[in-house]
């Protein structure tokens, strides 16, 4: 119990930016889904079991059109393809996480992944419990916010336009921290260049998968110099 408290206390501050982002995006999702005529239970269930921000917004559209499970499945794979990268880079980190592992894999959202990549876990804190609390707290924020949006959507009258920038800012800050932590900037620059190029070429709806392919190709070609640069 004492150990859990310690892990919780160490994890919580890292999740504050995600809490802000998830609260507002979750509320927006709840409002959107109820506007399609779905009871708030559906919003909560989707946030518990799907737990993928952008996919749930797409899902709200799918739920507002005729039944087509195969189409829904293919769209899900495409929208969430970037998660493949998250699993690949967590193979080593999640090794030995035992009973926490299935949940850590299930909860691998963009934001949880980013925090797990960037947090320095204090030496005196249980690593598995720390990672669990990062994932679990983020999940709670998301579910609570979706419920709030679905139940009280119409009560939010103050303007929150632009609040979703909190996620952009979070990823930017992690990008800078990573930049400072490495001598070789080829991987970071590859990510930016490949994504911008593919966004211009393929447009906002279709650029993720080509970007992933291009990133893998570039990292493969530059493997020698990247590995050498960090020695």
């Amino acid at each position: 119990m004492e150990r859990q408290k310690k892990a919780f206390k160490a994890a919580f501050p890292h999740t504050i930016p995600v809490m802000t982002g998830y609260l507002f995006l979750g509320i927006a999702f709840g409002i959107l889904l109820t506007s399609k005529g779905y009871h708030f239970v559906w919003a909560v269930a989707m946030s518990i079991f799907i737990y993928a921000g952008s996919m749930q917004f797409v899902g709200a559209e799918l739920l507002a059109s005729a039944l087509n499970p195969l189409n829904a499945f293919m769209i899900t794979l495409m929208v969430n393809a970037r998660h493949l990268f998250y699993g690949l880079s967590m193979l080593v980190k999640f090794r030995g996480t035992g009973k926490y592992k299935p949940y850590l894999i299930f909860g691998l959202t963009d934001e949880t992944y980013s925090l797990l990549c960037s947090c320095d876990i204090p030496d005196n804190v249980d690593k598995n419990q720390f990672m669990f609390f990062i994932a679990f707290l983020n999940h709670i924020y998301w579910v609570v916010a979706s419920a709030a949006g679905a139940l009280l959507g119409s009560m939010f009258t103050f303007s929150t336009e632009g609040i979703d920038f909190v996620m952009t800012a979070l990823f930017t800050v992690i990008f800078i921290n990573q930049w400072k932590s490495r001598k070789n900037h080829v991987p970071a620059l590859t990510g930016l260049a490949a994504s911008v190029m593919c966004l211009l070429l393929f447009g906002p709806e279709n650029f993720i998968i080509p970007s992933m392919v291009l990133i893998i190709a570039a990292l493969t070609i530059f493997r020698k110099s990247v590995e050498k640069g960090e020695e």
């Binding site: 829904a72 499945f73 880079s89 800012a169 930017t172 800050v173 930016l192 990292l219």
Partner: protein
């Protein structure tokens, strides 16, 4: 509701399974018991760096450079985040201030 309850249930279940599959696949292909090839370990180690760039671009994907306000609020707010972070190196401050600047810009200025 466009769909019946059972149709909606199927759709939600399919989306949940699809999402879980994208998160689980690497762990299925390379279980702890089996040593992953050096190439995969290399990718795993180096991927967080390009992914963060990809996520920043992903957040900005709907910003238009040819239509007013030409991405100016985003550019100013990101510049604030970068400069503030390089100066103070305080994660919450950089994120909080950058977001407030962005909200003021899109609500009051542009």
């Amino acid at each position: 509701m466009t769909l019946t309850s059972s149709e909606a249930f199927i759709t939600v279940a399919v989306m949940a399974l699809g999402t879980l599959l994208t998160r689980m696949l690497p762990f299925i292909l390379f279980p702890d018991s089996k040593q992953a090839p050096a190439y995969i370990n290399y990718l795993g180690k180096v991927l967080p760096y390009p992914v963060m760039g990809l996520l920043v671009v992903y957040c900005l994907k709907n910003v238009s450079l040819v239509q007013s306000p030409y991405g100016i609020p985003e550019a100013i707010a990101i510049l604030c985040v970068v400069l503030l972070h390089l100066w103070k190196n305080n994660t919450l401050l950089s994120i909080g201030a950058g977001t407030v600047v962005y909200m003021l810009l899109v609500q009051k200025v542009f």
